[in-house]
Symmetry: D3
């Protein structure tokens, strides 16, 4: 039984933006399958993680066609307290992979402690900042956030009234009381 060549890509997708989309598209060209870890899966309706794991799955899926979807392996992974244990925690959740891609320095360092080389995705350095930038625009009601996410994601976020949600969450802080 020969397993297909697979790449690992990790993100929180709060929300799924163009940077994520291009990175995954690129990996789909080089690998038979791409394992997409949805980090902080257990968190939602908070300023850093406004969308539930299910909503994130939805907004990613609407951006790919059937052929792509059959080659994408989505794996929600909850946070662990200890960053040092995080890599092993991820490996327990995912099927075997052949390569890890990330532009995040901390992710690279953590994998390197396990002797795993992390490759850089060229032209994808907007990523880490882009998510928080989009959330800030949404909280401000600045409609220009729509330029940062795929068209289908805009449509989805409007359907779930994402802008209103983020405004309320940011205004209240993370506290529900």
């Amino acid at each position: 039984m020969k397993m297909p060549k697979r790449a690992l890509f990790v993100g929180r997708f709060q929300p799924f933006h163009h940077g994520h989309f291009y990175a995954i598209k690129k990996l789909l060209k080089k690998f038979k399958e791409v394992v997409v870890v949805i980090g902080s899966s257990e968190d939602s309706f908070s300023p850093e993680n406004p969308f539930t794991c299910g909503e994130r799955l939805e907004m990613i899926r609407v951006c790919f066609n059937q052929a792509d979807l059959s080659r994408l392996i989505f794996v929600p992974v909850p946070d662990v307290n200890d960053n040092r244990v995080w890599v092993d925690h991820v490996f327990m959740h995912i099927p075997t992979i052949d390569a890890v891609y990330s532009n995040n320095q901390l992710v690279k360092m953590l994998f390197s402690k396990h002797g795993i080389l992390v490759s850089t995705i060229e032209f994808f350095d907007r990523g880490p900042k882009e998510g928080s930038h989009v959330r800030r625009l949404m909280a401000d009601g600045d409609r220009s956030w729509t330029k940062h996410v795929p068209k289908n994601v805009v449509e989805y976020l409007d359907a779930v009234e994402a802008e209103q949600r983020i405004k309320k969450i940011v205004r209240m802080g993370a506290r529900h009381v």
Copy 2:
């Protein structure tokens, strides 16, 4: 067996202030019983939650007479990581209710995801800000905090040397080491 009409009121009561007191008094006039959820019950001796769950129970109870106490149902509820699961988590802890009251936009949104309408308590918009305001005054040793909480609560807070405690906690941050 007919259950009495009940309202739900949620707070952290750090400390119990006039805003909380008037809101509960108001609900006691409209409902047979009031379920009072004490949120973040597991946290204490931290800047956001200086008082233990037991101390909060004590400072609320000293403000009501026997007749009121027999109609108040106090339910400490610990935090959950995921805000989305929070409503169901609350429902698991409390007896059945007929109405939910809150002026907090996030609480309203979370309950509305379960199809539950949350009513507004008129003239009670000081609430969410008032708690942190009182804690700040106490940390500064500004005795004017006593104007924001019922007289019995002042007496109780002085008995447990609350001002000194908050000063130390705020100065050290949440860290004990």
Copy 3:
């Protein structure tokens, strides 16, 4: 500010039975107030803890009149992993008390490690066994369980179809899958 004399009584109340009822009634005669800790508050729909915290609150409250209710302080307390820390965990949740009552040897030992004497409740040795006995009868559909719990609790348990629930839970084990 003088606090009333209080006794502590701890139980899981799965369900609330005659043993619990008589013990609390007895303590209400000796003390101004009784703090009733509802243990394992976070567990429900499992063979050991079929009823939610809210349902347990409900079935206890229907057994007492208004005058008693004003003197009962119910405090749900979730489990902690470490038994050694459990006593301090309970103390954090409750208002100050003057005496602890229990016939459970382990509870007595744990409190004695903190230098606290635990008194025995006479004629109340049916307790620890009685709960599991009632659950077993309910799982077997043996209606004689109704003799072990107060009349109002029978009415309540029938209203929530408790017998059916316990049959299903016991048959499936604790697993939901």
Copy 4:
């Protein structure tokens, strides 16, 4: 944006057996997409859950072709302490669904508390027992377990030396020390 009709199917897949396979195949005929929740995702190398979440994903995927895979949405979901909160916990992890399928009485009861009807999968009553039966056969080194799981899963389980693993785990109990 119209979402495709989706069914929810929940299992632990320890391991993925014929019962699971036929049920999912059946649902793929009736629904555009099937959400497959992998329960107890955080547990592995224990007698009840010998395989990691990643291994379970692997052994399910090798049983379906590309067309099917594009319509299957796998969602690992860790356990929660409280069964009563479990349904909401699942809903937070998954995209919106139109129907729930299960033959498990407890799952049916828990969803019915949320007003959700759970449909029965005909000719699939071997499920709940079949997993533990397969694990027992593997622990005994009885090769007849291979008749209960799809051919590709047999091949996969042999590749990861599953029989040896389960023998060791069962012999040692869940304890690693």
Copy 5:
């Protein structure tokens, strides 16, 4: 800076018995230092783990002289849910080591998944069974347990009235209510 050669030895030490003692003595002869992991460190006053982490530290230390103690590195490690992540969890807690010793098949398997060979300690196959055997004897009040633990440990266990504690814990089960 040259680090001394170190061996890793893992146990729960409930209680510390002759098997543990001889194994550590043996390793002290071959290695400059021995890292002794105290597993399930967060559990106590339960049938499987009657002694606190602090008590276990105490009963181990009284068996070694100053010279040995300076070469022993005790590291309490709490349990993790997932056995697969356990090895990495241990590595995060301990200083670097050169060899791992255990006769436990599951421990060997878990380390081998990380490419680490686990050596066998000759003449030490009584270990895994011996702890539970000692606890059973103590629960039965059978004084012959004293033959299984070092003389200083007997003295210590008698000083903390261990026999009485275990009897009560076993009789009550793990439940405190």
Copy 6:
């Protein structure tokens, strides 16, 4: 069996600096043994806790000779949510002690709630601030941090490339994604 006189000293040791070193040296002169609690033991590779528990053990041990090491009892203790329960949580992890030393006001207050007097360590008021100061210098690549930690710790931190690690962690925040 007479237990030696012991003092308790608590720190996070991120990293182990001169303040810690002098305090422990001082206590070793007054007491037969010193129990050194390594707080927040489960956290690592984060801005507040860059070093793992194992690394902290290593960097402390290289500062003491064999005679000292035989009298030092290191006990890693993970955090607990509730500060109020923290003292009991510490006591469960450590062997019995005779005195507690700390200059931290919050630690003093928490122990005093248990009726335990905490002594001040003279000339050691640099402690609480010193750790964060050293981390900031390291993040800035300001080599003057080497003046704040013992020479052996400098050597160790350079060996594990601590400066690079802290730069990356601080730049990325605590998030790995």
